[in-house]
Amino acid sequence: MRGEIVTPGEIVADNKIRMHNAFSQNGKTYSSVLGIKDERTNEIVSLEGVWDPRPEDSVVGIVSEDRGKVYIIDLSYFGRAILVPGKYEKYELNPGDIINAIIKDIEGKKTVVLKDARVLKGGTILSIKPKKIPRIIGKKSTMIRQIAEATGSHIVVGMNGLIWLSGGNMQLATETLLKIEREAHLSGLTETIKNFLDEKK
């Protein structure tokens, strides 16, 4: 991710173009967030902020309520998240259970409907800024695979910013994940993390 940092209200194009995290007015396009303007893709990648849920995202959440037919899931997100078991599905979830699920749909811009849930037994949850999650996964999951191999931990990453860890060298895995969160905007991160893991192992 290379490019210059843009701030809200800064001109990013002298003509009217459709761009993520930007808006047009009077024939010019302006950034609406603090982000990096990627030179190659010509997109603005925001540096901070809340999670923007999209269908088919994999998330990690905690069951907070059992309402009989639906479960309310806490995804540490300002909207609501629900899990509705399908006709042939049956879940036996209790409040406090950690689950990994896929987003089926987003209703009315803020209610997240989940599907394909599975319970994650034991382990701990780590909270990371949602905008840093793509860096933790890495291109074609290279980064997360590298950490899992080096530490022997079982890691499930939710796009909503919650990460579930279990087994292996969890101390090192947590340290590495937090290091990525701190340095997510720097380039050459995979290499840095590789050296960091080799050093600590």
Binding site: I5, P8, G9, V33, E48, V50, K110
Partner: protein
């Protein structure tokens, strides 16, 4: 605050009491995201003003009945620390002045934050004045907009604010405490720099039409520098040299 009877001389030999020019602001320094637990934050030193601004959100709106399913609601709390200036400030919760300033600051940001992007949520802005020396609401707005941007909140612009006023016949920029108390007119304004939209305009005292337009021009001219400081602070917090 001050009465004209015991008014001190604010212009001595064509210079202001602190030696500044009439179109000169005090020194402004901003640090973006100094706080770890807030979603976004900023610290500003504007002359002797020292102010911390922090932002929480977008998060679930509480109480629930205040939430709007079509847009985010904005909350703002401006408060002066008990040690910030005169001992009458901040002694027992919000006073009339703090409530008023909180309200006008909230309205400034309702006009620039893209509230429709975060339906049903709330965005809370906290402005804590640690040390006050005149123009705290202007400095507070300037810091809060940096804090909002560093929280990743979608905004149409990065507003700044500055006070401008009149001492005798001279239009003067950025009052300090003594000038604020004894000036003939004092006008804090907040501006969205992209198209110079005015988001806040309050005034004590009076001005003629000509003085008013001169004052606005002076504030917008000074605003360019303030904007640069804001944007530089945000960029510095994320540049590679820093870490």
């Amino acid at each position: 605050m001050g009465s004209s009877a015991n008014k001190p001389k604010l212009i001595i030999d064509g210079k202001r009491t602190d030696g500044r020019d009439f179109t000169e602001t005090r020194k402004i320094k901003i640090i973006a995201s100094p706080l770890k637990n807030a979603d976004g934050s900023a610290y500003i030193e504007w002359g002797n003003n020292k102010i911390l601004a922090a932002v929480h959100g977008p998060r679930e709106a509480t109480p629930r009945h205040l939430s709007d399913p079509t847009k985010a609601i904005i909350k703002c709390r401006y408060s002066m620390a008990p040690f910030s200036s005169l001992s009458e400030h901040g002694r027992s919760g919000p006073n009339r002045r703090a409530i008023e300033i909180s309200k006008v600051i909230k309205e400034v940001f309702e006009n620039v934050v893209m509230v429709n992007d975060f339906p049903g949520s709330e965005i809370a802005i906290f402005i804590e004045v640690l040390q006050g020396d005149g123009g705290t609401r202007a400095a507070g707005i300037t810091a809060a907009s940096v804090a909002l941007a560093s929280a990743g909140i979608h905004m149409r612009d990065l507003p700044y604010a500055v006070s401008v006023g009149r001492i005798d016949d001279r239009i003067t920029l950025d009052f300090n405490m003594i000038e604020d108390n004894y000036s003939d007119s004092d006008m804090p304004i907040a501006v969205a720099p992209r198209n110079n939209e005015i988001l806040l305009l309050q005034m004590d005292g009076g001005m003629t039409k000509k003085q008013m337009s001169d004052a606005l021009k002076m504030a917008i001219e000074a605003g360019k520098e303030i904007s640069d400081v804001q944007r530089a602070a945000l960029k510095k917090a994320y540049s590679t040299e820093m870490k």
